[in-house]
Chain length 318, copies 2
């Protein structure tokens, strides 16, 4: 591998430039440790954890792997200060921040020796993140599951547009679930990939088995980016989603949408397995996922398919 | 080049698997002939032409190139029968159909010795097209300019999902404007690419110079897929677009939207260069287009960048 392709593996001290996305109700220490042990970078998703739960997951992750791992923190988290204290106390070395202003906490984290990555969905925020001093950015396309940008820029166009504008390494996210996707993302200008949906349907994911099986069944056209007035989120079009759409058709107020959402919809769907009444966040790439597998096997298969694609495509010159 | 990668060039008898999209008000005979002469496949866009204008463009194209070229026909075209007669009378050998049921005219065209390609935006319609007997399909992602599918599936996820389901060759469209994009699309499973936006900003495109210059200025987040109740279309967010959005906010009826659209908005914007009151159809990839160039140079640069990217693959193994 050429030097210029090693920035992500060097930055995190990992073997493969594959990052497992921090996801609410899905990525606890079991998944993160499994991915890190397999040579990628596992992330604990703090977004759905009370502070003491997060501390427990960090402590367990340290016991489950000797490899680097990180924590993803959505910056709208209500107990953010408490979370940041835990990050320092538990000596977490890698933090991915998302859904907020990168200028708020990057310096604070960097001053404490932490590697900081911010998730963006536009060139504007990529530049803002670089200016804030982050070590790398995740550029996430419209096809990604869960919360998403308002610009609706897809992975295929976002990655080259961001890569040509920033000097720091770009990690592609949204639509990637296998080795060919990883190679395509790297050809478009990324230096690493962040993979979410594929790891939802892993043995070690904390998602309810009903949700994992639903991900396996999901086909193209089965997800939709909705709730754009609140925070845009890509969901499976289940009964709960239909109720959201009905409210739109009745020209409901934001407050009515918020009331329907309540606080527990994501937990109900993804963690408790209520496929009708819960919120099921997944990316379009679910259409390519057809089996629940151990996380290590997922990483190995991605690497094998990636290397195979590198070999066969050298013949493709025209 | 390996045998399995030659299906598109063999099918159309062209040098490079690069197809220039048939686009309303943009792709007349000048652009089509220039692309065909450069080794790609040029398409005349019938969608914005009266029958006699189309005939004239076909005749002029035959004089301007000895290479294969084709015609793109949107199947909602009002004088469709007349158009099909002209196709036969003028001995056009390649037809791309779009925006309609592939079962309607594929057999008729194939019976007359014409190579038929249908444009789709979902696995379902890809399978339906294959069943109808088309020779290849264009799978077009959400990021593409102009009219688009309701499923909102992006190029990055649509191409592998379609490729693994159909036996006929898949041509990727949406988000591709350079050689790296072409290689990424081929890695994801396509065997050729259809490129639209990049050729809008070409010397030979019939687009008004104001529109070409606007495409060069367009950045990420500047386009949006709108008018989903009528036919979804990706537009630059200009004054006309804002008026459409205002109508939505006032919960306008479909008929009011149709009235605002009128018949001449696309012509006004793209052909007459009225950047305020016209409809400006372009893809997200406009953010990567920064210069108006001759079509032949665009083809040559895509091929050179593609081959260069292929060369780097062996070094990319991990």
């Amino acid at each position: 591998m050429k030097t210029e392709n090693k920035r992500i593996t060097d930055l995190f001290k990992i073997k493969y430039p594959i990052i497992q996305a921090g996801m609410v109700w899905v990525s606890g220490y079991k998944l993160a440790a499994a991915v890190s042990n397999a040579g990628g970078l596992g992330l604990i998703g703090a977004g759905s954890m009370y502070p003491d739960v997060l501390r427990e997951h960090i402590q367990k992750c340290k016991k489950a792997t000797s490899k680097p791992f990180g924590v993803n923190i959505p910056l709208f988290y209500p107990d953010l200060k408490e979370i940041l204290e835990i990050i320092l106390e538990e000596n977490v070395k890698i933090v991915f921040t998302s859904a907020g202003n990168p200028k708020l906490y990057t310096k604070f984290l960097k001053d404490h020796g932490i590697t900081v990555v911010h998730v963006v969905s536009s060139v504007k925020f990529a530049l803002k993140s670089q200016e804030a001093g982050v070590d790398a950015i995740v550029a996430e396309g419209f096809e990604a599951g869960g919360h998403n940008g308002r610009e609706e820029t897809t992975t295929f166009t976002l990655i080259p547009m961001v890569s040509e504008k920033v000097a720091i390494p770009v990690i592609a996210a949204g639509g990637i679930a296998n080795g060919k996707g990883m190679l395509a993302a790297l050809i478009l200008g990324a230096e690493g990939v962040q993979i979410g949906s594929r790891f939802v349907a892993s043995v070690e994911s904390s998602a309810h088995n009903n949700f994992k099986e639903e991900v396996v069944k999901t086909q193209d056209g089965d997800t939709h980016l909705t709730l754009k007035e609140l925070t845009p989120v890509r969901l499976i079009k289940n009964e709960f989603y239909q109720r959201v759409q009905e409210l739109y058709q009745q020209q409901a107020e934001k407050s009515e949408l918020q009331e329907l959402l309540g606080r527990g919809r994501a937990k109900k769907g993804m963690f408790e397995g209520d496929l009708e009444n819960g919120e099921l966040e997944i990316g379009q790439v679910a259409g390519l996922i057809d089996e629940i597998k151990p996380a290590a096997k997922i990483v190995q298969e991605i690497v094998a398919e990636y290397n195979d694609a590198c070999s066969t495509l050298a013949d493709r010159k025209i």
